[in-house]
Structures are given as C-alpha cells and as structure tokens.
Symmetry: C2
C-alpha cells in the first residue's frame, strides 16, 4: 500500500525541469526538490525513452536529496511535456476551464522500477479558439488553493509573466479566456540578435536610478507603440549618450510596458489584476503597472506561492485523479 500522504510533482516546461516530493494532508510540504535547465527543448522531440530515462535519474536524486528510501509515489506531470514536442502529447482541454480542474484531460501510464511501480499522471493544457496554455492552468489551480489568494483568483485577470507571458481571464473560479504575449522572448531576441544589441548590455546592473528609464520606456511604449519606439533604444546611445546598462532597462520598459498597456486597455477598472511570475519579473511588471498609473487593483502573488504553484496545483488535482473512473484503464 502506497503512503498516499506523498505525491511527486513534475513541472516540465520548455526550458526548465522541476521535480518535488510533497507530503501532507490538506496542504503539502515540500520534502525535497530537484530543479534543472533540462526543459523539453533539450531532448529529441517526442522521444519517450529519453524523457523516461531522465525522469528515472531525477527520481533517484530526489529521494537521495530527501534522505528517504525510494517509494513508488505517483508522479503528476504538467507543462510542455504533454505537447507535440514532449513525452506524451495530450489533447487540450477546452474553455471554459474550471479551476477545480474538472475538465482537465488526464492520461495515465506506469513506470516500473525495482522498488515498485510509479503511476504517471499526465495533465493536459487548455486551448481557446486561437491560443494555448500548457501548465499555467495547473499553476492557477495551485494559486487558487491558497486561502489568502482565493478572493483575488476567483474573479480577476491573472498575469503570469515569462518567456511567453499569459494573461488569463478568470470569472467565478473558471478560466474564460486567455492570451499569450511573446514579451519575454521578444526582449531576448532583440537583446541578442538585433542591431539594438550594440546599444544595450545583457546583464544590467544600473540600480534604482536606472529603473527610472524602465518607467520612461513603459510610458513611451504606451503612448507611441512598440514598433514605433524600438529604434529609440539605439538613438538613446547614439544621440543622448545614455549608458548601455540603463538602456537595457529602457528596452525592458518598452516591451513590458507594451504588454501592460494592452492589459489595461482590455481590462479596465475595477477588474482585479493578479500578478504572478518569478520575483524579478514580477517586480518589473508591478513597476510598469505603476508607471502607467495603475496600482490599487494590482495584487502580487507571493514568491513562496509562485515558485511552487505547479506543485500546489498537482496537490489540488489529487482528489480528482483518485476518483477518476478512467484511471485504471491505462
């Protein structure tokens, strides 16, 4: 009999792999974790054996980190791992998507090990007519479980910044719609691959004073538009002698400010805005909201929640999985 106070959470995204051993009753404690940059793009697309081998390796390391003997606890997996490029492609769940996860598409397989058999629970993404989520829906399930956040998440616009920022419209604990902004990726390709790379510095260290230029960028993008403004990153240096590290923050302000401006146009007050993301990015987004005149309805999710949101979501899906009549079918 497996000790069902344990669960293994695997958040396997495009560029990161995160494995956690959770234990608890209502809410979980993280007993041990393993994080690596082995996102799915570092594997041959769709090669199940490679993904499985890596998971086995990391499971062993996880138990070693936990100083526990290995046990066949169930492993919940979400993120890009269920995409075309991942281990097991799952069809998307449709909208509206209740944040109890009742419409999640689940798939089960077994992973045999000498010490027993792990049940693998793959969790689908969600699609709208023209956009897709892969993992963020599970993170929101996790965030919604936090008592202090519940009233914010129940009905709000959730902004989850990242390489592909997701802006998700939630009404009555249900995802109604969402949109992906290429914000983080656009910043990266401009920084690394465009003529603007000569005018910026990849790791800015400009301090608080430099952040004023982030605000300037955000406001400029909001009033003039992004494409109209990008060349000013070059002329800031050529004509105005702005230091390149400060100028990186200006470019960041242009790009993030464009997204934030779009969010504010699409979702006027009083819709609450729930802001997730890792701490550094979250603080820039919060700053952009302030620069564009919006503070009172923006609520930041604490880092201790955002950093483990997927794991909390997996924990939240457990009752559903345990009662799933299709569970034994695979």
């Amino acid at each position: 009999m497996i000790d069902n106070s344990f669960l293994i959470s695997c958040d396997w995204g495009t560029s990161a792999f995160r494995l956690r051993l959770l234990q608890g009753k209502d809410s979980p404690t993280i007993v041990a974790e393993r994080c690596s940059p082995r996102g799915i793009l570092t594997f041959p697309a769709g090669d199940a054996d490679e993904f499985q081998d890596y998971l086995i390796l990391e499971l062993d390391r996880l138990f070693r980190a936990a100083k526990l003997s290995r046990e066949p606890f169930p492993v919940y997996l979400s993120g890009m791992i269920t995409s075309t490029l991942g281990w097991k492609e799952l069809p998307y769940a449709d909208l509206p998507y209740p944040l109890e996860g009742t419409r999640a598409v689940l798939a089960y397989t077994l992973l045999q090990r000498v010490y027993g058999t792990h049940e693998l629970v793959f969790i689908s993404g969600v699609r709208s007519k023209e956009d897709v989520l892969r993992g963020e829906e599970t993170e929101l399930i996790g965030i919604l479980r936090e008592p202090t956040l519940r009233k914010w998440v129940s009905s709000c616009v959730a902004v989850l910044p990242g390489t592909h920022s997701k802006v998700i419209e939630i009404l009555d604990k249900t995802i109604l719609n969402f949109r992906t902004y290429l914000t983080g990726e656009l910043f990266d390709v401009l920084l690394q691959n465009s003529i603007l790379k000569h005018s910026v510095q990849p790791e800015p260290n400009a301090g608080e004073a430099g952040l004023e230029f982030f605000d300037t960028g955000a406001r400029r993008a909001a009033s003039e538009g992004l494409l109209d403004s990008l060349f000013t990153v070059r002329t800031n240096v050529v004509l105005k002698g702005l230091p390149r590290d400060v100028n990186t923050l200006y470019l960041s302000g242009l790009v993030i400010g464009t997204e934030v401006h779009s969010i504010l146009k699409r979702f006027p007050a009083p819709t609450p805005i729930l802001l997730g993301g890792k701490a550094s990015l979250q603080s820039l987004y919060a700053r952009a909201f302030r620069a564009l005149g919006e503070t009172s309805r923006v609520h930041a999710v604490p880092e201790e929640v955002t950093s483990i949101a997927a794991a909390l979501g997996h924990w939240g899906l457990r009752p559903l999985v345990e009662q799933d009549p299709f569970r034994s079918a695979s």
Copy 2:
C-alpha cells in the same frame, strides 16, 4: 579639366554598396553601375584605409564596366558611410531639412590615383531630437527631382520601407520630422531567432492565395496590437494547421500592418502618402494600406526611381557642391 557632365554616385549603406557612373546635363543617365553586398558592416568599423581600398577597386571595375578610360570624376558618397561605423563620420544636419539640400553637412577629401585626383564629397545624415536618417534624405532629394513626383513629394508623408523603415514628414519640400520603425529587422529576428521560426518558412512561395493571410495579419495587428498577436503565428500552425509558407506572409502582415496602422493614425487623411522601397516590399506595404482601408491617397514611387534615388539625389546636390565656398578648404 574634368568633364563636368560626369559624376560618380556612391550609395554606401549598412548592408549594400552601390556605385554608379552618371552622365547628363539636367538629368543624368546611368552609364555603368557596380553593386555588391559590401555594406559598411562588412568592414572593420571606422577603418578609413579599408574603405578607401575597396572604393578604388570598385572605381576600376566601374570604368571597366563602362568601357571608358579612367577619369577623376568627383565621387559623391552618402549613407551609413558617414556614420561612426563608416569611413568618415560627419555630424548630422538638423531639422527642418530643405530638400534642396541647402542644410546638408558636406565634407571633402581627395583620392589620388595615377590618372588624376578624385574629389570625394561626403554627405551627412539628418537628426531630429531622437532619431536619425543616413542616406534617406539624399534619396528624397533625388525623388523630388522627378517631375512627375514633385507634386507628391512637396508635402506628404514619405514611407521608405526597409530593414529600418523611415517615415518622413515633408511640408513644402522640407523634412519637418521623421521616425524609424524597426519593421524589417523585427521580421527577420522573429523569423530566424524566435520560437516562431518553427511555424514559418523563410522563403515563402504561397502565391496570391497566400496573400490573403498577409491581409489577415495586417488587420489583426491593427485591431489587437503586435505583441498581443505574435503568438498566433504559432497557434495558426498548432491549432489551425495553416501551412508554414502562408504563415510567413501572415507574420509579415502582422509586422508591416503594425507600422502602416501607426502611420495612418499619425497622419490622417488627406495627407498624401508617398511609398518608396524596393518593388517587393513596396507592393506588400501598398497591400497593407489597402487592407486597412486606405488607397486613394497612397502613391507608389516607380521602381526605376527608387532603385537609383540616391544617385538622383547626388546629381541634384551638384550645383550646391560646386558653389560651396568651403569646398577647397579640405
């Protein structure tokens, strides 16, 4: 005595080099030309000797192409060759900039050859408070000289598409202001360096039917914004099965449509819109204007003018240069 019915025009940009031997009285004929991809970025930044050696090489080739003996005709140079990264950095001319070129900053040097001494005439760019032109001002001088275009260029918004598209406000034959859009470069970096590269095909060959998706992209960007729309390039393929070559045109529509939408917002009717650029790009821009409902005030500059606009501009500057009291000073 140099035969002053001849002039050599050198349009030396970021990624292209164009040398032309012109002959004429009021308007010139192109006797011979040499074009190469040796834009200034293919030389060590600011290395005068390297630029000079290459010019000498190409001058010899130009006379060979013309089947003429070599003569020390004056060489007019404009474009990025007068930037920090070029041969001879010149300060920018200021706005307003009359399209007779009377405020152009000119600099002279001599190029000694066995058959005589070429006078080199370097022509500056133009700056506003926050933007720069390098060469486009000279092209406009050339375009303005064409009798059939004069009434269009005298007062209009000139749109010169390219890697860095320039949108130039002209009133009474004078540049009042301008703005650079990173349109072409943004398209390239997204095509080559972003996740979208998996959803497009670099050399689309989708024909007329595919161009409908260019229009769709242009309209989508105009209504939803560019950053909000880029991810649909991916979902077009993942969710809708759109072929990748057609999808390239959609991405092109998104990016060009964003610029065109911005131009229409900034310059409402009845301001005439003069459209330059090389033929393929010009036809996409014209299409974007149509897709966004604007046709009657858009006038396309014929390719026989756009392709030699810089040379026409050099020819137009000749009287000014020949009367310049500072000419002998250098």
